[in-house]
């Protein structure tokens, strides 16, 4: 699905991390780890195809769909309500799980009025319910409460069972126990 060989990225000719190599197969979750400033988010951006100019090799399976959720933003149209921000393939059970059983109360509210946590839930719902074979998540817990974390774990588990693969950047490691099949450490050169 994804093969990475000797990947690194440089800012002003100075590499951010030592070259990394790994493979990601269907149904796997890879945890990208490293200290602040090690380049984890940059690495995900490179893998998503948004950041050119890297060194090494990134080989995705041809025609594979990938979804990418950034760390501090959710890519929402803030003036639209949550229904218009979602694609049509969201099931009502997904909506209840992420936004609560009374989610219709917010039907006509622009997402701009949502709290940080609710926006994150919406971003995760949209990303995880897409038909992508590989999901790249950058600090998905940002703003999430305990029940949100439980929902996230449940959805990732079911995604893995369905053959979806995940690349996750997270400083909190406890919730990934039993989910991560391997981890990749980004070390400063």
């Amino acid at each position: 699905m994804l093969e990475v060989k000797n990947l690194t990225f440089s800012f002003f000719d100075s590499p951010l991390w030592r070259p990394i190599s790994f493979q990601c197969k269907p149904g796997e979750l890879i945890h990208l780890r490293g200290p602040n400033g090690a380049g984890k988010s940059t690495c995900l951006k490179v893998l998503s195809g948004l950041l050119p100019g890297f060194h090494g090799q990134v080989e995705w399976k041809s025609g594979l769909k990938k979804a990418y959720l950034q760390s501090e933003t959710n890519g929402l149209f803030l003036d639209l309500d949550y229904i218009n921000n979602l694609s049509s393939d969201c099931s009502s059970s997904d909506l209840s799980d992420w936004l609560g059983p009374r989610h219709m109360v917010w039907k006509n509210f622009p997402v701009r009025n949502f709290s940080t946590g609710m926006r994150r839930r919406l971003g995760l719902l949209r990303t995880l319910s897409s038909d992508a074979s590989c999901v790249l998540l950058d600090e998905p817990l940002m703003g999430l409460d305990q029940s949100g974390i439980q929902t996230l774990v449940k959805k990732i588990k079911s995604g893995i069972e369905n053959g979806q693969s995940f690349l996750v950047v997270s400083h909190q490691t406890q919730w990934l126990d039993g989910l991560a099949t391997s981890s990749v450490d980004l070390e400063r050169p």
């Binding site: 060989k5 998503s48 195809g49 948004l50 050119p52 100019g53 890297f54 060194h55 090494g56 090799q57 990134v58 080989e59 995705w60 041809s62 594979l64 769909k65 990938k66 979804a67 990418y68 950034q70 933003t73 959710n74 890519g75 929402l76 149209f77 803030l78 003036d79 639209l80 218009n84 694609s87 049509s88 622009p110 926006r119 990303t127 897409s130 038909d131 992508a132």
Partner: protein, 228 residues
């Protein structure tokens, strides 16, 4: 993944949810047209027609500029632009939806401004005559497409305003030249020469639309596999 229909639906909703995006340029164009009309004073005949033509070209060009300046304002919040790049089923669909609504915006503003021109100058605005209307439609279509393409290129650049201006004005000049010649020939009733300029404007418009459709996708789609 987001389909063309979903892009169309979102843009349609955004059209009504972000009224300032259309109201601000519309009000600006109407006020500009009205103020310039007051300056017509005692001008009559040929001179009045000439000044009206200038006002019209100015209003159309400025409303296009304002619409293009705001074209990606909804996407600039919460990094929706980046999200759409990675989650769009068809980047062409995104471009087409954006282009259709920019075109609709500019057209609305042009008509409102021209109504103001007609009201204050007691003359039928030239936009309501078919050749002129055709030329205006072609100009809005072509420059809308070109402007969106260049705005998207400059979107993530720190020097986006300079990058856009450096690229847009030189490339748009053939269309603007053809359009200003059409307005002049129309005023002089030199209809025999009108068709050659209309053909030039049509050709350039097609080129801009083709460039927008093909390059927008190529430039904004994330790369699948690469090595360096």
């Amino acid at each position: 993944m987001i389909s063309f229909q979903q892009h169309l639906r979102s843009h349609f909703k955004l059209f009504f949810k972000r009224p300032l995006d259309i109201l601000a340029p519309a009000l600006f164009s109407i006020i500009l047209a009205t103020l310039l009309n007051f300056n017509l004073g005692s001008l009559e005949g040929e001179n009045k027609a000439y000044v009206l033509e200038l006002i019209q070209v100015l209003v159309i060009f400025l409303s296009l500029e304002l619409c293009l300046a705001n074209a990606f304002s909804a996407e600039s919040e919460d990094q929706a632009f980046t999200y759409l790049r990675t989650h769009t089923q068809s980047v062409y669909g995104w471009f087409l939806a954006k282009w259709l609504f920019t075109f609709a915006q500019v057209l609305c503003i042009c008509f409102l401004a021209n109504l103001a021109i007609g009201f204050f100058s007691n003359a039928t605005p030239t936009i309501f005559r078919w050749q002129f209307l055709l030329a205006t439609l072609l100009l809005c279509c072509g420059l809308g497409s070109l402007g969106l393409l260049l705005r998207s290129i400059a979107f993530e650049s720190r020097l986006s305003r300079i990058v856009f201006s450096l690229l847009y004005y030189p490339i748009a000049s053939p269309a603007l030249l053809a359009y200003s010649n059409i307005t002049e020939l129309y005023r002089l009733s030199a209809f025999s020469e009108l068709n050659s300029w209309l053909s030039l404007l049509s050709g350039v418009t097609l080129l801009y639309i083709a460039a927008g459709c093909f390059l927008f996708g190529e430039l904004n789609r994330p790369s699948e596999s690469s090595n360096s």
